[in-house]
């Protein structure tokens, strides 16, 4: 059995193979990726579609957490000031209810309480990054505006809606309480009770002052309870932040395992491929052009 004397196709096939291997190795080193097109690894490519979208979402959730955390902390801090102010108002009231106070002193206290009311309203109108925090979902105008028709002197201009912000695939966190739930609620009317106390101090009637002071005290408790919401929200957001950080790490490492390449390995592969390719070319160069005809000498 003769062997095929036309061995060129075999040599060419070998060369093409070693060239192709070299190209792949080069590309992997250059891009750091083992998968550039779907056919490189169809399953990995399909999984990467989901990974890409999920990675984008996790980044955005993280940003949402940061911005919502800011507004929640801001609201919490405002309510903290309100609690302090109300506590002060209560002590003014207690003072004023004491029958030994002079009328002018009572007047002075009334002014103080009036001033507290003004500052609480200012707190109620806190805005964070241009959005009013206590107007429900109406965030573009101040929730409390001066109104002569309102007993407290201020009318609520916001709504009773709440927003929940997406901070995770299955997680929306409520981010606000409406102002009329906190400051002008029947359960504890902050603005109303302050306004009443100021009036009572003005009138000098001890019984009225005492009653008004109790109302302010009740409002204080109420606000403290409402404030818990913001503390809880903060806690939730903080743990979500930690979770999202972990998710980012997971997604990144999934990406690497799907389409990435270990650079040290890639460099070694490239080196081997280059050596193999050079050897194939050298062998081909030796074998191809030599035929016996090169050695035939013309007859003399």
């Amino acid at each position: 059995m003769r062997i095929n004397p036309t061995f060129v196709p075999n040599i060419i096939a070998d060369l093409q193979q070693s060239q192709a291997t070299l190209n792949v190795a080069l590309q992997q080193v250059a891009t750091g990726k083992s998968v550039s097109v779907p056919s490189d690894n169809p399953e990995a490519s399909a999984e990467m579609v989901q990974n890409t979208i999920e990675s984008g979402e996790v980044d955005q959730y993280t940003q949402n957490v940061t911005s919502v955390l800011g507004s929640v902390q801001s609201a919490d801090s405002a309510l903290g000031s309100v609690v302090t102010s109300l506590t002060q108002a209560v002590s003014y009231g207690a003072e004023g209810a004491n029958g030994t106070m002079s009328a002018s002193n009572q007047q002075a206290l009334a002014q103080q309480v009036q001033a507290i009311l003004t500052s609480v309203v200012a707190q109620a109108n806190t805005s964070y990054q241009g959005a009013y925090l206590f107007g429900g979902t109406a965030s573009t105008t101040p929730p409390y505006v001066a109104s002569s028709s309102s007993p407290s002197g201020y009318a609520y201009n916001g709504n009773s809606e709440v927003n929940s912000v997406a901070v995770g695939d299955q997680l929306n966190v409520q981010t606000n309480l409406p102002g009329n739930q906190i400051f002008s609620n029947s359960g504890g009317d902050v603005l109303g009770s302050l306004s009443s106390l100021a009036s009572a101090l003005q009138s000098g009637n001890s019984a009225d002052i005492a009653t008004a002071t109790n109302a302010v005290s009740a409002a204080l408790n109420y606000v403290s309870q409402q404030r818990v919401f913001y503390g809880n929200a903060e806690g939730q957001l903080n743990s979500q932040e930690t979770y999202l950080q972990q998710e980012t790490v997971n997604l990144t490492s999934q990406q690497t395992s799907l389409v990435g390449v270990d650079m040290a390995t890639a460099a070694t592969n490239l080196s081997s491929a280059e050596t193999a390719n050079n050897a194939a070319m050298a062998a081909a160069a030796k074998v191809l052009p030599d035929t016996l005809l090169n050695y035939l000498s013309a007859p003399s």
Partner: protein, 142 residues
């Protein structure tokens, strides 16, 4: 040279005859091998011819000297028929040799022509697989 004994001489003459015939046979075999383009056969025949012709030369020279140096009466016992056969065989061999020589010369010229043609082509011979690669083809007419 000491004259050969009559009996020895007869044996040697018979050998001579046999060698002549064998050599003639080999020439025929060689010509057949050329016709069949069978190189191994040809090479084998030529090898045999070399051996045979060498032996024949040596034997013939010896016999020839012997005859020159032997007196006529001693040669009277020679087998006439044997000598006649040797003459015929020798003549046949020579004529065959002429044919053979002509064939060898002719074939030799053809081979040299081909060799010189291929040697003068300095280009690249790339061997392609049967139906696939397309390369320059040149042909020669002999």
């Amino acid at each position: 040279m000491i004259a050969l004994d009559v009996q020895d001489r007869k044996i040697e003459l018979e050998q001579h005859l046999q060698l002549l015939r064998s050599l003639a046979c080999e020439l025929e075999r060689a010509m057949k091998a050329v016709a069949q383009n069978s190189l191994p056969e040809l090479e084998d025949s030529i090898a045999n011819q070399q051996v045979l012709s060498a032996r024949l030369s040596k034997l013939a020279n010896g016999l020839s000297r012997d005859f020159r140096e032997t007196t006529a009466p001693s040669l009277a016992h020679l087998d006439r028929d044997l000598m006649r056969q040797i003459g015929v065989a020798s003549s046949t061999l020579q004529k065959l040799n002429q044919r053979y020589s002509a064939l060898i010369q002719h074939s030799s010229r053809s081979v040299e022509l081909m060799v010189s043609l291929f040697s003068s082509f300095k280009g690249q011979f790339q061997e392609g697989s049967a139906p696939r690669l397309k390369h320059q083809t040149w042909s020669c007419q002999i």
